[in-house]
């Protein structure tokens, strides 16, 4: 207990330092804004803003980005409720009851519910995070390269088994991401690989930010332009101090489902393929199933807003757990944070707790404080956000494009990378229209170099014997679970087909 509380106090103190605290507040504000804009979510905000953080030291940079991540989870509800369009995919479930509630003139209550429920989910998950992270990191210290590689395969397998997208397309997306990561000089032999058309720009490899900003910046904006055609319709919100007073009496209506959803969201968030979107949908389903009055859901039930909002905040914290302790991101957003940590010269993984305790505990401390700031800023700025949402998308879009271009130039400072970024953005947009999932590719390009290194290190130590992955017990377990996740959707489909055939025969007779 003490081994956690003392560093936690240190972390809180670290997060309260002037630079870190100002980064945190700015991050929360930007996150709220990014989350509230339709089409932009935490992952887009973090991808586009990562290059900007080169200005400050890594401790402050991660606090800023985590605050953006956090704020975006709060902000997502604003457009779900006032526009009826999810501000980010993580706030999809908030539309179900948030929109009807806004239509019945209670938009203020819906927005307050979202803010308070987010706070509940966020707080529960941050406390869980604090107590889970150190033991998990200590356990992960036993991992060698074989376990690392097996764990990464497990992370990819979760996309196949639990991602819910087309399996062949998911595997294709993972492979593309991993191949992009191999471009450039081979880390072990030093030989150049995949230098297409002898273009010298490929020698320094493809920075993960080029893909991440391409897909989540440019591709996402193209996608949103298509969806909104540059126009949105806002619902009127009237909110004042009276709404807050009225709301305080209503908190008890949803505090229990919000807490349960927070727990659920946290654990779902830990899984790489799951994360905040399925977490919030599951929490919505669970709350509806447990309710005495399930028919009132979808018609403006306050619990239907509290559950997904609590869960998506909890999931965002949950997804940081494997990133900090194992070096495996739990979501696309944390994949980009992980890539950022590599740029800042930190080696993600269990050693982070012993080698850079200030960094880790500063981040954990900042999550507590970000939670408090996000809820206050969110409630205080509801009127402003609603005004901002009436902005035409054709004003926001060029500004975001400029940020993408300039931000994409910053890490490597070559025009070559900007052309690649535009290419990835357009191709990613087109493939996404065909249901190719893009998140696995981003995760893969971040993990690619680490996966290849651990694969080759393990094989070097076993003199080229691939059985090493099965001889070591932990790695064997990871591989077995990974195989099970690969087989699971196929087996499920086969089983369903068989049942359908069985039931079809008597029906035909």
């Amino acid at each position: 207990m003490e081994s956690i509380l003392i560093p936690l106090m240190g972390g809180l103190a670290e997060a309260l330092q002037p630079l870190n605290l100002s980064m945190l507040v700015i991050g929360c504000l930007i996150g709220l804004f990014v989350g509230a804009m339709p089409g932009l979510g935490s992952v887009n905000g973090v991808a586009i803003l990562l290059p900007v953080t080169f200005l400050v030291p890594p401790d402050a940079a991660i606090i800023f980005l985590a605050a953006v991540y956090y704020g975006a989870m709060y902000g997502g509800a604003v457009s779900s409720i006032t526009l009826g369009i999810p501000g980010a995919s993580t706030a999809v479930a908030t539309v179900f009851d948030g929109r009807p509630m806004a239509q019945s003139g209670k938009a203020d209550q819906a927005l307050l519910t979202a803010a308070i429920a987010s706070f509940v989910g966020g707080t529960i998950s941050v406390v869980l995070f604090t107590f889970f992270a150190p033991p998990l990191a200590a356990f992960a210290l036993k991992f060698g390269p074989a376990e690392e590689f097996a764990l990464m395969m497990l992370a990819f397998a979760t996309f196949v088994g639990l991602g819910g997208d087309d399996i062949a397309k998911t595997i294709g997306s993972i492979a593309i991401g991993l191949i992009l990561a191999t471009i450039g000089l081979d880390i072990i032999s030093g030989k150049p690989r995949l230098i297409f058309f002898d273009i010298s720009g490929f020698f320094h490899g493809v920075n993960f930010l080029v893909l991440a900003i391409g897909i989540y910046g440019i591709g996402e904006m193209l996608w949103t332009l298509e969806q909104t055609k540059g126009d949105v319709q806002v619902h009127r919100v009237r909110a004042g101090l009276g709404s807050i007073a009225e709301h305080l009496r209503r908190i008890k209506e949803y505090i229990v489902p919000a807490s349960l959803s927070g727990l659920l969201g946290y654990f779902v968030g830990i899984l790489p393929a799951a994360g905040a979107t399925p977490g919030s949908l599951m929490a919505y389903g669970m709350t509806k199933a447990l309710s005495k009055d399930p028919d009132s859901f979808g018609k403006g039930n306050i619990k239907g807003i509290a559950a997904p909002e609590s869960a998506n905040n909890a999931a965002s914290t949950g997804s940081m757990l494997p990133m900090i302790t194992l070096g495996i991101p739990g979501s696309p957003t944390t994949a980009i944070l992980l890539g950022g940590m590599i740029i800042w010269g930190l080696r993600p993984g269990p050693l982070l707790f012993t080698e850079h305790p200030d960094f880790v505990w500063g981040l954990i401390g900042s999550l507590y404080i970000a939670n408090i700031f996000a809820v206050i800023l969110n409630i205080a700025m509801i009127p402003l956000f609603v005004r901002v949402l009436t902005l035409k998308f054709t004003i926001l879009a060029p500004v975001i494009f400029v940020l993408c271009i300039v931000g994409g130039y910053a890490p490597t400072q070559t025009m070559h990378d900007l052309w690649l970024m535009l290419l990835f953005g357009v191709v990613g947009y087109l493939l996404r229209k065909l249901d190719y999932p893009v998140a696995p590719a981003v995760l893969a390009i971040v993990l690619g170099p680490l996966a290849e290194r651990s694969l080759r290190q393990s094989l070097l130590s076993s003199q080229g014997d691939p059985l090493i992955f099965l001889e070591r017990p932990l790695s064997a377990i990871f591989i077995l679970v990974a195989v099970a996740l690969f087989v699971y959707p196929l087996a499920l489909r086969w089983w369903r087909n068989r049942q359908r055939d069985d039931s079809a025969v008597p029906a035909g007779e």
Partner: protein, 168 residues
């Protein structure tokens, strides 16, 4: 082009791309197993390209069987409105990058912003010009001054000399 044709085209292109990647990974690199040392430099990309090939073939087979929702859809892959707004946006970005090579990024960004705000967005001249001036100025102070990352300036470099003298 219908969604069905688009899925077919995409899977064929991905198959060709993975074949190209396999060939490129094998080009001068060892894709096999070096006895006693494990895989060669080309091993990892080569076999990943094989996985990409197999997954694209699987998609193609599922397309023939009409197993994916896209392969059953005869809707237009991109409708007329989308072509207009997305196509114009992509073209504008293309010319922004192209112009950056010659005229530098600041001038190109200004032209891009003006075109986008005034002609795609249809906003007022006042708003368009305000943002056109304000955003590149902000970018200049943030990137050049605070982060010391010089953006490409091409032939417009001399215009910045007075600013450099003032700042540094």
């Amino acid at each position: 082009m219908t969604v069905r044709t688009a899925e077919f085209t995409a899977s064929i292109l991905l198959i060709l791309a993975s074949l190209g990647l396999m060939w490129k990974s094998a080009d001068g690199l060892s894709v096999g197993w070096i006895p006693g040392a494990g895989p060669g430099s080309g091993f990892w990309p080569f076999w990943l390209a094989v996985i990409m090939l197999l997954s694209s073939i699987a998609t193609l087979v599922r397309w023939f069987l009409r197993a994916t929702p896209q392969s059953r859809s005869d809707e237009a892959f991109v409708d007329r409105d989308t072509v207009q707004i997305v196509g114009l946006t992509v073209l504008a970005l293309f010319f922004l990058l192209l112009a950056s090579h010659y005229f530098g990024m600041y001038v190109s960004l200004m032209a891009f912003l003006l075109f986008y705000l005034r002609f795609i967005g249809g906003h007022s001249w006042t708003l368009s010009i305000t943002l056109m001036v304000f955003i590149p100025t902000f970018v200049f102070f943030f990137f050049e001054y605070l982060m010391t990352i010089p953006l490409p300036k091409g032939i417009t470099e001399p215009l910045f000399y007075p600013l450099y003298q003032f700042l540094y």
